[in-house]
């Protein structure tokens, strides 16, 4: 059995319409695991700040781009882990375009997002040169240290 990108897309759609949060599929040497959002305690957006952030704020109203994790979608892609625990923002300011989208070409020092830790904004850089294949971390949500933010297929 082999899976095409179309097949994976179809499976994701099935999962989205189902009442399940996780799906694990194993067949021969193919293993596919899909997870909806976060498990355990329901994730909650950062509480309203008393003061606006010093560097930049991104409205929590921006639609969340939670995408299912497709761990095996591109085996050559590399995980870009979060360097800090904090609130991840995809855009520099409210209403502005995101730093990167899927398909973007990034250099090691390309800023891919911002992590807020108690009103302090920290730029996150790709750390790898290549093409963005996935954006996993939802906007304006808590990310843990080491959590995969995006995936990049290294150039060359």
């Amino acid at each position: 059995m082999s899976l095409t990108a179309k097949d994976v897309g179809e499976i994701i759609r099935l999962l989205e319409q189902s009442s399940f949060d996780e799906l694990e599929l194993e067949s021969g040497d193919i293993k596919l695991s899909l997870r909806r959002g976060e498990g355990g305690v329901a994730p909650a957006p950062s509480r309203q700040r008393a003061k606006p952030a010093e560097v930049a704020t991104v409205p929590a109203s921006e639609p969340k781009t939670a995408q299912p994790t497709a761990g095996t979608s591109d085996p050559t892609a590399r995980d870009v882990p979060s360097p800090l625990l904090g609130i991840f923002y995809r855009a520099p300011k409210p209403g502005e375009a995101a730093f990167i989208e899927v398909g973007a070409q990034v250099e090691e020092d390309t800023v891919i997002g911002i992590i807020e830790v108690m009103k302090l904004m920290n730029s996150v850089r790709a750390g790898v040169k290549g093409e963005v294949t996935e954006i996993l971390a939802p906007n304006a949500a808590l990310v843990e240290y080491g959590e995969t933010l995006i995936r990049v297929r290294p150039a060359g």
Binding site: G40, V41, L85, V117, M118, A141, L142
Partner: protein
């Protein structure tokens, strides 16, 4: 304000200890764990675990902003800091106050008041709690005059120190000016505070501390005292309650002094007021106040039946004190051994690693607080506390007999532990007699070394 979800900002046995009470109370738990602790028992048992940073504590457990951000991001009502790490840093308590997150502990101002040892001493004087003769000197001349008044030997203590850190003993008053200069420079380097003060050196002292609970509005009760005199280099190894061999009057006086001290601060939450008992003079002096839950709190819980963590949470939630002094009944005696991953044969060097097998004791009157099971890891980044084995009995003799049996039943493979050392101390007639001074363990080691040489 009801507390529904707590961020536990700690690790090891105390993280699990707090977690257990939360589960019992139906409070959700979010554990803030470093990368090194993601596979730990508390991480497995918490409702949610957040990785806050890499293994070194300076990049994880010691970052107040990350801890508060984790609490906010996971919608926690409150933070329990445990002991150590950020439990007595004003930065965390203050940030919680600013962000509207409940800090399960005293106010930032109270932490500050007891963190400055000279200020803490002044509060003791104001509360009519005895302090050892001494104090701060404005000039070198003053210090020398004060030194003459106190008499040698005396101690030069750092204002920012505590727990045995930042102290210098002066045996000859002629050495005082030099000792002051050195202590001051060292204190500046170690604590960022050059201030030092003088205090009488107590040749034969016992470390006795009073457990208190305060509602933050001036009402304070005590839950008896603990004797923590079995120490090696100021590290407590065995603690017990009640403190053996004190007269009823002395015991009542020291408990009342602890309560008065906490009342003076309008203390909120659980705290411990430490005293040095001068055995030769039959007096006691205020040492310091620990504004947190203590490692040795279980012995108090065993004899009182009070869950101190639950009381901490209730007070933090605004429920005040649920107990009156008359509700606190002390029944029997309890002794605790701290089981550390360290090698007594090599100067108690830490022995981190993977625990191949862990067998802990059980039985009547035995409680084990531990996060270590077979396969658990003792990471090299943190303290080496693996477990606390606590015995309770109708009296000290029964508690001791149960503890001896419990230590003998314990078995750890994979890392070195001080279990054997505990077995030896518990078998020692001097320990069995009770009421030792803090010089007991050094004497115990000397005796052992002498016996080895003879053999």
């Amino acid at each position: 304000m009801p507390i529904r979800r707590i961020l536990i900002a700690n690790r090891g046995e105390i993280a699990l200890r707090v977690l257990r009470t939360c589960k019992r109370l139906g409070i959700e738990t979010v554990l803030a764990a470093s990368e090194a602790d993601l596979g730990s028992l508390p991480a497995k048992l918490a409702d949610r675990t957040l990785c806050i940073g890499p293994a070194p504590s300076s990049e994880s457990y010691l970052k107040p902003d990350t801890i508060v951000q984790a609490a906010l991001g996971a919608s926690c009502d409150a933070i329990h800091p445990g002991y150590g790490f950020l439990s007595e840093r004003t930065a965390l308590a203050r940030m919680c106050e600013d962000e509207g997150v409940i800090f399960i502990g005293p106010t930032a101002a109270q932490i500050e008041a007891v963190g400055d040892k000279l200020r803490a001493r002044a509060e003791a004087v104001a509360a009519e709690v005895p302090v050892a003769p001494g104090g701060a000197a404005a000039s070198l001349e003053d210090a020398v005059a004060m030194g003459r008044e106190i008499g040698a030997p005396l101690l030069v203590k750092a204002v920012g120190g505590g727990g045995g850190r930042g102290m210098k003993r002066v045996d000859d008053l002629a050495d005082l000016p030099q000792a002051l200069a050195m202590a001051s420079a060292e204190a500046g380097a170690a604590f960022g505070d050059e201030r030092v003060y003088l205090e009488r050196f107590v040749a034969r002292g016992r470390h006795v501390e009073v457990q208190v609970l305060g509602d933050g509005a001036g009402r304070v009760i005590h839950l008896g005292e603990r004797d923590c005199s079995v120490q090696r280099r100021y590290q407590k190894l065995i603690e017990e309650t009640p403190a053996p061999g004190l007269s009823d009057d002395f015991r009542a006086a020291i408990r009342e002094a602890g309560v008065r001290y906490a009342q003076r601060l309008d203390y909120r939450g659980a705290g411990t007021v430490e005293f040095l008992v001068d055995m030769d003079r039959g007096a006691f002096y205020f040492l310091e106040m620990n504004a947190r839950i203590q490692v040795e709190h279980p012995v108090t819980e065993q004899v009182t039946g009070v869950d101190l963590v639950a009381e901490q949470i209730a007070i933090a939630a605004g429920g005040g004190l649920r107990l009156s002094q008359d509700d606190v009944r002390i029944q029997g005696a309890s002794i605790e051994c701290r089981i550390n991953a360290e090698d007594p044969a090599h100067d108690f060097m830490p022995s981190p690693g993977t625990v191949r097998e862990a067998r802990w004791p059980s039985g009547e009157g035995i409680r084990v607080d531990t996060h270590i099971a077979s396969g658990s890891r003792v990471p090299p980044y943190y303290d080496s506390l693996m477990a606390k084995i606590i015995a309770h009995g109708r009296d000290r003799a029964e508690a001791l007999a149960r503890l001896r049996k419990a230590i003998a039943e314990s078995h750890i493979e994979g890392v070195k532990t001080n279990l054997g050392f505990h077995a030896e101390v518990l078998a020692d007639p001097e320990f069995a007699a009770g009421g030792m001074d803090t010089g007991y363990l050094p004497r115990f080691f000397e005796r052992k070394a002498a016996a080895l040489q003879e053999a």
